[in-house]
């Protein structure tokens, strides 16, 4: 399967990400924002590309200068953007973010009527899924139609042609009409997925049902708190399809749970936290790099942890993903895998 044209096709949201330059300032006192590119699958498309993989992105942008901004960046990075439609009458997504380490990262999504949720069956049929080794989708792409059905259709196609399917849970509660609809929808697609990536809160939101309670503090939609038992949630998810679940535990490292019951711990690399946003996508990039190289789970997760640790010291998401040699050196300098 390594003779396929692309290593990984990533499907879902993209955005201009506006990161506060005034680190530590309360949101109302921010003076300027750096302009980056973001969105879970978009970040991972750049992250995997920088690590040397052949990445192709299936997102959508509007017919506006912000769309140009995103496409220009992807071009520069070498991510294949040939299958990205422009959606007239829909805006390219935008996110405005504050940075108040260590624990407040408020963010405001501009996603009403956005372009990337307009992906259709036709867009999926036009994309080179049969030419890819892995398809990655993200939870937010399942939040609304027509993207929801198109995303599941893409997964069905991937499975039909032997590509592996990775689901990044990407739980953003304000993108769902009811936070519980996230779980219902995730559980509906797990039968089609091989590998799931998420935080403890995301795993709980995906696996648990009636009694879950979701809360968001400091407008940090990327880090909703979800009630419930994470181990039970891991079991539920693995029972519904996937072979593997990679649980991102931030400063506590990563745990890889296998369907067999085995679990692998991968310690993190201790660094000073500047900005947690994007670190999860950096992890996914490194982890999938290892996965596609055929590495064992521990080594893949350590690679993911390294990429995450590098980004956590930096300002933004896609624009700050480490390159292959950079990540390997980083690990090397810290005692190796």
């Amino acid at each position: 399967m390594t003779d396929r044209s692309f290593d990984i096709l990533l499907m879902g949201r993209s955005s201009i990400d506006l990161y506060a330059n005034d680190v530590g300032a309360p949101f109302p006192e921010i003076k300027s924002f750096a302009a980056y590119v973001g969105g879970c699958p978009t970040n991972i498309s750049v992250g995997t590309r920088r690590l040397g993989l052949r990445s192709v992105l299936l997102t959508a942008v509007g017919a506006d200068p912000v769309g140009d901004f995103i496409l220009h960046f992807l071009e520069k990075e070498g991510v294949n953007k040939d299958f990205i439609p422009r959606k007239k009458g829909h805006r390219t997504s935008a996110v405005i973010l504050g940075i108040e380490p260590p624990d407040k990262f408020p963010l405001v999504y501009y996603r009403d009527n956005c372009a990337d949720i307009e992906l259709t069956f036709e867009d999926v049929l036009a994309a080179p899924i049969p030419a890819c080794r892995v398809l990655l989708i993200s939870g937010t792409g399942l939040s609304r139609e027509p993207s929801r059905s198109a995303t599941i259709f893409a997964v069905e196609r991937a499975q039909a042609c032997g590509a592996k399917v990775v689901l990044d849970l990407d739980f953003r509660p304000d993108q769902w009409h009811d936070a519980r609809a996230f779980g219902v929808t995730i559980r509906s697609v797990l039968r089609l997925t091989d590998l799931v990536i998420g935080t403890a809160d995301e795993v709980k939101a995906g696996a648990l049902s009636e009694d879950i309670y979701v809360s968001v503090e400091h407008s940090q939609v990327s880090g909703a708190h979800v009630s419930g038992d994470v181990l039970k949630a891991v079991d539920t998810i693995l029972s519904l399809g996937p072979e593997v679940l990679a649980l991102k535990r931030g400063g506590d490292g990563t745990t890889v749970y296998l369907k067999s019951g085995e679990q692998i711990e991968a310690a993190t690399f201790p660094v000073e936290v500047h900005n947690v946003l994007g670190a999860g996508d950096a992890f996914a990039s490194g982890f999938l790099y290892g996965y596609l190289k055929g590495w064992d789970w521990h080594r893949a997760a350590r690679m993911g942890n390294a990429c995450g640790a590098i980004v956590v010291m930096r300002h933004g998401c896609a624009n700050f993903m480490p390159y292959e040699q950079e990540a390997l050196d980083f690990i090397d300098e810290r005692g190796g895998f």
Copy 2:
């Protein structure tokens, strides 16, 4: 499980059904319409109730006289309506139908912004799912949010408390933003279903993906034509979860396909076709009656066929469902099961 309070909870759409009194007249020349109650799960709630089952309906109506019309009818029929919410700002669904036998039954759905698609998680949590032996959902209930997530959530709850789940495919292409989204969505819920009921076209629409072609003639949304191989479609559906698929073949009888590969033919009762609308729901009522009695598949399907044959000779849907003795007599008079 027979000690549960209800035999069957039916979830999904309801409507005032306005049936042309001028049978055979082209639509523009219709002079008057009879007013009945309809909608796949609503029809089956009445059909099963008339056969003696304890039925409870989870639909929603608007705060309007048409809502009163539906609730009044359910009350009269003895279907439990205690869990039906009224949705302010949303209209009770309506359908206007022409009758031109043998083959034209144009229908017009008034379902924009309708009440029954507004069913929520809260409505599901309020409904007595744990007190039911069977939960029936229908495809149209999965066509839009919030009903889609609420319906899947109901199915998860039913499964968790040991109730059997029946899916009536109920494919109405104009209720979906893309006809292929129907299949994607159906396939997502099959893992949770025990028994599927549908016509050949519905089964194909649910099982097949990329190359399907859907067409509707004479505005007969209830009988869309779908391209593809029905046996392959049956296999696909059974491979994704259900134990049983009952294929309604109209005048050609019913075939019950089991996961084991076995298939049971149940001949129909030949009658003169007056109006095919509602016959499928009558079949479902009789079939589920047999299922809940613990009958074998052939006998259950024959009961379904009898109920369908009776309704096909009549004018409308819910209002014309046969009573238990009536159906048994009908079978008896025609040589028995």
Copy 3:
């Protein structure tokens, strides 16, 4: 101006009107509905046509059998329907009505996402406004975009080419996001109108602002009760543009108020009330007939009253409008104008 091709162009809503055949029955007990055509401007198009005027209707219908039903009827009546677009993805409007004389006429509008509110600038530009002596618009056509702007644009065009503009207030509170928006919008167009027709409640809803209170009983959206002083409201309306306001006072006859301060009373013709729905549009038809004939206000209003009285004894709207000789005979038999 009498050499123009059409006497009157009517712009706005149309519908299939389903009238209870069970007169007097509470809504939930209705057994069947007669199928007619309705909608304020559509009714008047037929009413004026039957009186001998050359009428052209600018409404819109969906690509559905109900649209065929309406067009078929217009064709039969001889109303020009050449400029009526079909709006894909939008439903032909429908109304379901109960009849409980003397005072309950519940009605349920199916107008969510309806075709006739989709009239655009292009539709107006295609219509033969310069070839008409009179343009009639109705309040409901101003309730939502794009019809709102298109309707005002039509009025501007009519004024520019010397056609008279008639506004039928047609206040249906459930068609507005806020009942007060009706008044705001009506007042915005009065500068462009020559003649206003309405009931006391409609006149108050159009003229008064902050303190008005609107209530609807028995779901009779066609007869909302509006608080306030009707004479003050008449003055307000006449101060904002129109030369004439015809106040329909039901059984109490009609009062025609002129900008000059003069007011003309026209007594009604006493008949037994069978169904008030449509009587107002019959009045408008007769009144505009007289207006276009150049009759004095009293004679025109008496003609309107006669047409209204005839329809009030009948079952529906457009289908029951009187013909010219019929109305003149009716008046003659009752002592003349």
Copy 4:
């Protein structure tokens, strides 16, 4: 009337305005954006406040950090923000802008489902219109419901209590479903306005109808090109109500047209153009300052031109409005009024 509590109430949109820090860079190459506050009425609220007027702003923001950002700024500036509602489920508006002098200023509005278009009758009733000498509304506030009706209602209230009404045309074609709907709507409210402010293109868009052609280059929605004769447009507008129209002609100064036919030219102050965005709102601030001081039109327009010239040399909108003494000194240094 000078004993009223406020000099001016401004109603309409507000936003976080993100201005490219990389002046001259093509949009896709922008590295960071300065964060300011903007939106026509919001800019003028700050502009008039800095000139010493007592300003009160009636806009709406979302329940998000961007809303905090705007309110925090208004607080600091001393603009009364007590009547600004937060709209749950609606986003605070945002604008992202590039700066490529002399003639390209692309901008991207994030206004889908935005908070400020959700202003209602209740919000207007809660605002201190009777306590204000002047009410200013802007064209964009008329683009959609519920803001459209609420804005006209505010104007009716202002007129009823003797406040003067100013309309800033603020034509942003992408905020209208059809560019011609702008004109239709503007003409509907002119009877209620005393003073109109706009550019030549805005005046043409407001006054002309069928044959106008609107085009936008370089995504500069703030500077649409509109076909037609500006003098004819000025006449049309003045014939429909207002006493005065102030035509902003950019580098060519300002012409004030009176209903009497008189026209007053006010030369501009030549400066180097850094960024035209916000200059028009600075003009309005200075012009209304003079108007409220009772100055003659020439002097008021020169004050407006001075404020505009100062802002044109600067980076943003509201944050760069000149203070009273600053503007007066600027004029003084350049030869006086």
